[in-house]
């Protein structure tokens, strides 16, 4: 048997239970050792509207939602109307025949699977159980047993009493049995693999990465799609000794995190583009006061309030340009949900060492996507390096200078409260002693010295950051170039292109700023036909890369419709660009909610 690769789409109105039955199915798969990645296309409504959850299940690790839908679970007529045409030949659609029916042409080779909720639930008024009925039927068609679902339902409803457990397990079984009798199962069965997996989201992973990095202060203002980080932190705060605060606005968030960081805690906060805009002045102040702090920006569609529930890679220039003036800073974009965990401790060690702000550029697809993964990959014993800090009186008579001019630009940082090291940090520019140099003591030479001292830290940072990764053969004809969350997508697209005979490789950027021109150009030099793939209108990364390295791509694939790329979007685009039909390809989004 080859790799198992199967995608289920669950469509319905928010409030119909997709939010819970999606993760439920993932948990069943996790217990069977099945990997998964999900993407939820949803709207900014608590009730009403339409949600479509794509769950790609695989026997191998998977980090994008793929190209196809094999099975649609339609919870209402809307879902039927919108998604019947998305089902591939050999696929099926499950629906409640009481109020939903296919209209228009049924695609060839698609099995219609109607169930009557009324009949199978004995006319239950508990409509939310429609989920469970259809899930039971789906499990049968997938060739899986009911055991895991029964276990999970039992645990979930235990505290509501045996009657509720029986009702839920009963409806799942009714669906399962009905499917056994009436529907044709899929040829490949949901495998049972040895190693049980865990279920997580990108936001949870970044929060866990923070915990592993030793974050002891986290604050935020709720903003989609970043709020999951706050929820994880709040839930685990007491167990892990993390101070978690919800603050009045994002200006307060960034400043509070900076205050906490100055006090000695590893401090982190997360927001989305609009909130990040409010934080920018504070980020510059962290640069000026040389305070290490980590800010996560989970991108959603912009500009302005934009698309609160849709994805984009449109905030790169906002981060690059955040705050006035020049100051050392680091920007990194995690390349997968799992990478969200490792990127945070790595960034903290850098910002502690170089005493500057660090920014994480995630996006909705990565942050709100669910994945099933092997929990052994979580390394809790991350290296924690606080850099040069002073916490005790060292007995020296030497006058302590907080911003002492050094070759590396790094000045040992005494934490407030330490005897013998009293000093002031200021957002006004200052001399080595912290004395302001812009007002009474205006001194261009001191200003130049301290500016150069701060900026020297960039040399150290640049030397530490690795070059972008190259996957595939060095001398390929086509090079897909991307950044952040699209890593697995581009790997998959490259391998699909290779399967069609196109020699293709993939260069991916994780560390975005500062870019070392030499290191980056060494990798880019091998490109024959570079195609930059990014989720925004203006080619923000392409312009940035050109500015930093002089690299000009041959083609561009961009998407800004709110929905994430699918692998075939890249394949189609690369082929058109390769054929010289266009330099800029904007894929058409087939699945619409």
């Amino acid at each position: 048997m080859g790799n198992y690769d199967f995608a289920i789409g669950m469509g319905g109105a928010p409030g119909q239970g997709i939010e819970s039955s999606g993760p439920l199915l993932l948990r069943i798969c996790a217990r069977r050792g099945i990997y998964a990645f999900t993407y939820s296309a949803y709207q900014s409504l608590i009730r009403g509207g339409h949600t479509f959850l794509t769950m790609r299940l695989s026997s191998e690790p998977v980090a994008n939602h793929g190209d196809k839908i094999d099975l649609v679970i339609a919870l209402n007529q809307d879902a039927m109307d919108k998604h019947l045409q998305n089902v591939v030949p050999g696929g099926a659609i499950l629906y409640n025949s009481d109020n939903t029916k296919p209209e228009g042409d049924v695609p060839e080779g698609v099995q219609l699977c109607p169930l009557s909720f009324k009949e199978l639930s004995n006319n239950s008024r508990n409509r939310i159980m429609l989920n469970t009925l259809l899930l039971g039927a789906a499990l049968n068609m997938l060739g899986a047993g009911l055991e895991q679902l029964e276990n999970i339902l039992t645990i979930q409803f235990q505290r509501k009493g045996q009657e509720v457990v029986d009702e839920n397990v009963g409806i799942a079984r009714a669906g399962f049995d009905h499917a056994a009798e009436h529907f044709t199962p899929f040829p490949a069965s949901l495998p049972m693999q040895d190693k049980p997996l865990a279920v997580t989201t990108g936001n949870d992973m970044m929060a866990m990465g923070g915990a592993a990095a030793g974050v002891k202060f986290y604050c935020a203002y709720p903003m989609s799609p970043s709020t999951g980080v706050l929820h994880w932190m709040a839930t685990n705060a007491r167990d892990l000794g993390i101070m978690v605060r919800q603050v009045e606005d994002e200006i307060g968030v960034a400043n509070m995190a900076i205050g906490a960081a100055h006090g000695g805690a590893r401090a982190m906060c997360a927001t989305s583009g609009g909130g990040f805009a409010l934080m920018t002045e504070a980020i510059g102040s962290a640069g000026m006061m040389e305070i290490p702090v980590v800010i996560i920006n989970v991108q959603r569609g912009g500009p302005s309030t934009g698309l609160p529930t849709k994805t984009e890679q449109g905030d790169l220039w906002q981060l690059l340009g955040a705050s006035q003036g020049d100051f050392p800073k680091i920007i990194v974009a995690p390349t997968s949900i799992i990478d969200g965990f490792t990127v945070i401790p790595e960034l903290f060690n850098l910002v502690d060492k170089y005493q500057c702000p660090g920014m994480v550029l995630s996006d909705l697809t990565l942050s709100m996507g669910y994945t099933n993964f092997d929990p052994d990959h979580l390394k809790w014993d991350q290296e924690i390096d606080r850099g040069e800090i002073i916490t005790e009186d060292n007995g020296s008579d030497e006058n302590y200078q907080r911003f002492k001019i050094t070759d590396s630009g790094i000045s040992p940082r005494a934490l407030p409260g330490t005897p013998g090291h009293v000093h002031v940090v200021a957002t006004d520019d200052h001399d080595e002693d912290g004395v302001l140099i812009s007002d009474e003591f205006t001194n261009p030479h001191k200003r130049r010295d301290i500016m150069e001292k701060r900026q020297r830290k960039m040399d150290g940072i640049m030397a530490e950051l690795p070059a972008p990764t190259l996957t595939g053969s060095e001398d390929a004809d086509i090079t897909l170039i991307g950044w952040g969350s699209t890593d697995s997508l581009l790997d998959e697209a490259a391998s699909l292109l290779r399967a069609e005979g196109y020699s293709t490789n993939h260069i991916h950027f994780r560390w975005l700023y500062p870019l070392d021109e030499e290191k980056v150009n060494a990798v880019l030099a091998k490109c024959k036909r570079g195609i930059i793939v990014e989720g925004n209108y203006t080619g923000q990364f392409a312009r940035f890369l050109r500015g930093e390295t002089g690299f000009n791509a041959e083609g561009h694939i961009r998407k800004y419709d709110g929905e994430p790329f699918m692998p075939h979007h890249i394949v189609d685009g690369a082929k058109e660009i390769e054929a010289g039909k266009t330099e800029l390809y904007i894929p058409y989004q087939e699945i619409v909610v």
């Binding site: 000794g241 409260g417 005897p419 002031v424």
Partner: protein
């Protein structure tokens, strides 16, 4: 002379809190009296300079951390309270003093003011209220009186000033006082009590701007200020405190308006802080057991 916070053998005096840098305020500025009162108040607590952190925003009065011998942060305009909250929660063993002006605290920082007050975090907030923007050379402020002529209101302000004391009392402050920089002894006592108060303490100070405010001068206040302590005012009575806060005219009350010692400070309610300052922790890693418990919940 300053000693950079090296441990002091004898009990600290106001002199120990004197900074290395001489203030660059206009000669005769009200802020000199505030600085002197603060040095005295800090000394009276018996704590050493390194046990304090003075945090400010931007403005003439926000330059104060540069002139006092304590740890200091001179932060962005209007953001001192947010930074100070983070600082206090990171190292709650330190005494946190926030200084600034009326524009910084009640204008651009107004949102942080309201929310810091309601959180009742243990810090002292000194607002050097001169009813004018001084550093930007004379524009109207949130506490400028109606009709006041400034560079931005040449025909007289048509906006009502806000009432910081009433606002603080109603927002849940547990220590609300007003002093006058022309009476440093009285002011210093208000500050001392504010530092020792466990919770958010506002000390609003009439600190005249002798350069740009020709209305609210030293003479103006000298004629009008009236100490609450001499009038039998009961600071535990919120209603009475509000009534006093509303008085503005020939007599203007100063002193301790309101104090509530029954409420817990934010830090006392947070179990995470009970075993020491989070900013001073060195054992930061997630333990194996904690990690296992987190993983278990994901399976």
């Amino acid at each position: 002379m300053a000693n950079d916070g090296k441990p002091i053998k004898a009990a600290p005096t106001a002199k120990d809190f004197k900074g290395n840098i001489a203030p660059d305020w206009c000669p005769g500025c009200g802020d000199f009296g505030v600085l002197r009162a603060l040095e005295m108040a800090c000394a009276k607590t018996g704590r050493e300079p390194h046990e304090f952190v003075t945090i400010s925003g931007i403005g003439c009065s926000s330059n104060l951390p540069g002139f006092i011998n304590t740890y200091g942060m001179h932060t962005l305009h209007g953001r001192s309270l947010a930074v100070a909250t983070g600082m206090k929660l990171s190292n709650h063993e330190m005494k946190v003093i926030v200084t600034g002006g009326d524009g910084d605290g009640y204008g651009i920082g107004g949102n942080h003011f309201l929310h810091t007050v309601r959180r009742n975090i243990d810090l002292m907030y000194i607002v050097m209220n001169n009813q004018i923007y001084g550093l930007t050379i004379g524009q109207t402020s949130p506490t400028s009186r109606m009709g006041m002529k400034t560079k931005s209101t040449p025909f007289g302000s048509i906006e009502q000033p806000l009432n910081p004391l009433a606002l603080a009392i109603l927002s849940g402050a547990t220590y609300v006082a007003r002093g006058f920089s022309g009476d440093t002894k009285h002011l210093s006592e208000l500050m001392y009590r504010a530092i020792e108060h466990n919770g958010f303490a506002l000390v609003d100070v009439f600190s005249p701007c002798i350069t740009f405010n020709k209305d609210n001068t030293f003479a103006f206040f000298k004629q009008r200020v009236n100490k609450l302590e001499e009038q039998g005012h009961d600071p535990t009575n919120m209603q009475a405190a509000l009534e006093q806060a509303m008085i503005w005219g020939d007599e203007i009350p100063i002193g301790l308006f309101y104090e509530d010692t029954t409420r817990d400070a934010l830090e006392d309610l947070e179990p995470v802080l009970q075993d020491g300052a989070i900013g001073r922790k060195t054992d930061l890693a997630v333990t194996k057991e904690q990690g296992e418990s987190i993983v278990k919940r994901m399976m």
